[in-house]
């Protein structure tokens, strides 16, 4: 192996040899992909298997297909899963709106307007990116529970409308800094104040940063478990992850099929999103390091 690679480096290999190497590489990679994706495929297939066959037969080709897992799982808790999906959708869309609104306003002020506290505010924003959520959550919980907001979505949404996802502020500031300042100046000269400039000049140009923020807010909020687990204790307000957790708690042997069916459904929005937004998503993490 080492001798051939050394030979490859010193002179370009013959076409045939290159083809063989590339075929070997692809074979190895495809085996690895199959290995990595196997658990996901197993979940998909199992969701359609009769419940008693899931754990007895690990194969990917089911003998009989059934939709029972979906039917049973949908009604496994004392409310249909549609309730939880709607709850999750509401929280997710609300969070996206909140982040887009509050983070873009904040970022514009920090990136473009001149005022005395600007550097301090920006430093605070950066520092709060690093702050672990766990030090804040207990007082936040006490705060929201004093206003009787436990079991409502306010504790989940209010922070988003107050620009507390500092990473997105930072991301947008960095993005705005790449836009030519002449555009703002031109708008000022034409008589537009900061508000009109923001709305008509900067915001439309910020599209890529807004898309990245939307994508990651969607995925993080849809997947979020910790915060809804703390604030949402009544079944009717559960988001999908909390509902799944509560299914796990009441799991019996026959429940695996239902769990898989509902888990699969819970991943569908993300998979669909991934299919459509893949390009932006990959670019987003490549340039910002967001997951």
């Amino acid at each position: 192996m080492t001798t051939t690679t050394a030979a490859v480096i010193s002179s370009p290999p013959p076409v045939r040899q290159r083809r063989i190497r590339s075929a070997l590489k692809h074979t190895g990679l495809l085996v690895f992909v199959a290995f990595m994706v196997y658990p996901l495929v197993w979940m998909v297939v199992s969701a359609f298997k009769p419940a008693d066959q899931i754990l007895t037969d690990p194969g990917l080709i089911p003998n009989d297909l059934t939709l029972d897992n979906f039917k049973d799982g949908w009604h496994a808790l004392n409310r249909p899963f549609s309730v939880f999906f709607l709850n999750s959708l509401l929280v997710t869309l609300g969070s996206i709106a909140g982040n887009l609104f509050s983070c873009s306003l904040t970022a514009y002020a920090l990136a473009r307007l001149q005022f005395r506290m600007r550097k301090l505010y920006f430093a605070i924003t950066l520092a709060s990116v690093m702050l672990p959520f766990h030090v804040l959550v207990i007082p936040q919980y006490i705060f929201f529970s004093q206003f009787d907001l436990v079991n409502t979505y306010w504790p989940l949404l209010i922070p988003k409308f107050l620009a507390t996802d500092a990473f997105f502020v930072f991301l947008m500031v960095q993005f705005i800094r790449t836009l030519p300042r002449e555009l703002d100046r031109a708008a000022w000269i034409d008589g537009a104040g900061p508000f009109l400039t923001f709305w008509y000049v900067v915001l439309p140009l910020m599209r890529p940063a807004l898309v990245t923020t939307t994508i990651f807010t969607f995925i993080w909020t849809w997947n979020d478990f910790f915060v809804p687990l703390i604030y949402l204790t009544r079944t009717q307000v559960f988001t999908v992850p909390v509902a799944l957790n509560s299914m796990v708690d009441s799991e019996t042997q026959s429940g695996v099929g239902m769990l898989f069916a509902m888990s699969l459904l819970s991943l569908l929005p993300i998979l669909v999103f991934f299919a459509f937004a893949q390009k932006y998503l990959i670019r987003g993490i490549a340039t910002t390091g967001l997951k």
């Binding site: 690990p58 002020a109 005022f115 030090v135 804040l136 034409d190 957790n245 695996v256 490549a286």
Partner: protein
Amino acid sequence: MLTQAERPVEHPSPPDAPAATGKRPAFHLTRQGRAAHVFLIPWLLGFLLITAVPLFASLYLAFTDYDILNPPEWSGLENFRRMVDDEQFWASVKVTLVYVLVSVPLQLGFALLLALILDRGLSGLAFYRSAFYLPSLLGTSVAIAILWREIFGDAGLINKGLALIGIEGESWLQNPSTALATLIVLNVWTFGSPMVIFLAGLRQIPDELYEAARVDGAGVVRQFAHVTVPLLTPIIFFNLILQTIGAFQTFTQAHIVSGGTGGPANSTLFYTLYVYQQGFVAFDMGYASALAWVLMAAIGAITALHFLVSKYWVFYGDN
């Protein structure tokens, strides 16, 4: 500068700017300052109500005994003293440290290895990148944690697979010595997101450097050691910090796999799971706050350490 001086002559001033050019900068600044603070109302409120006040409140609570029903009672260092004798606290520290120390290097190792393989002009890059990235996207969800529970369950996929080749499996999740390993495997499985960042970093390395190394007779291994790794160190550092901080805060997977208990025998009692149990199951919020501050101090210290050590191994091009 010149254009700025010319501007009021050539164009009408903004409506509320004074006509006198000389006074303009100062007025300009306060006007922008006022506008800025209007823009910053949400952020200022958020910083105050959602971050600053809770931060100080939690620092105060860390020195109290508080069960949410009765007013907090000052207890001095009692909460911290309690940790010393608290076996569960030490168990959670151990679990978290083992998890960070094992899963982060493994995950980044896989990420780098696959990034290197995919970087070398391979066709089908987009396909592989997506396939490897997908688990990262789903990895922290409850659904995948449930899947993991079943994969490593007694009658799960792993044991079925082992049975095919004649090995008798284990109760992975019931055995304290293997339960944590299953969560490490889960974290390693999500290597796709650091991989994408590595791929972006590898793109930045100029081809000329490889050519120069080749001319000097360097083989693949030496090119890797003397060109790729040194130029990639800022990206490795970035991924390391990001994944370490993330791993310290692992919660969902541990909660689902152990049904919220951290069992068996505390072997999956992640630190954040313990904070949650103390704060929101036992409602011992004073102690939970103290625990949270220890976590913050630990993450702060480890991040600072990373930055200190980085001077010796991270190279930023120009110096």
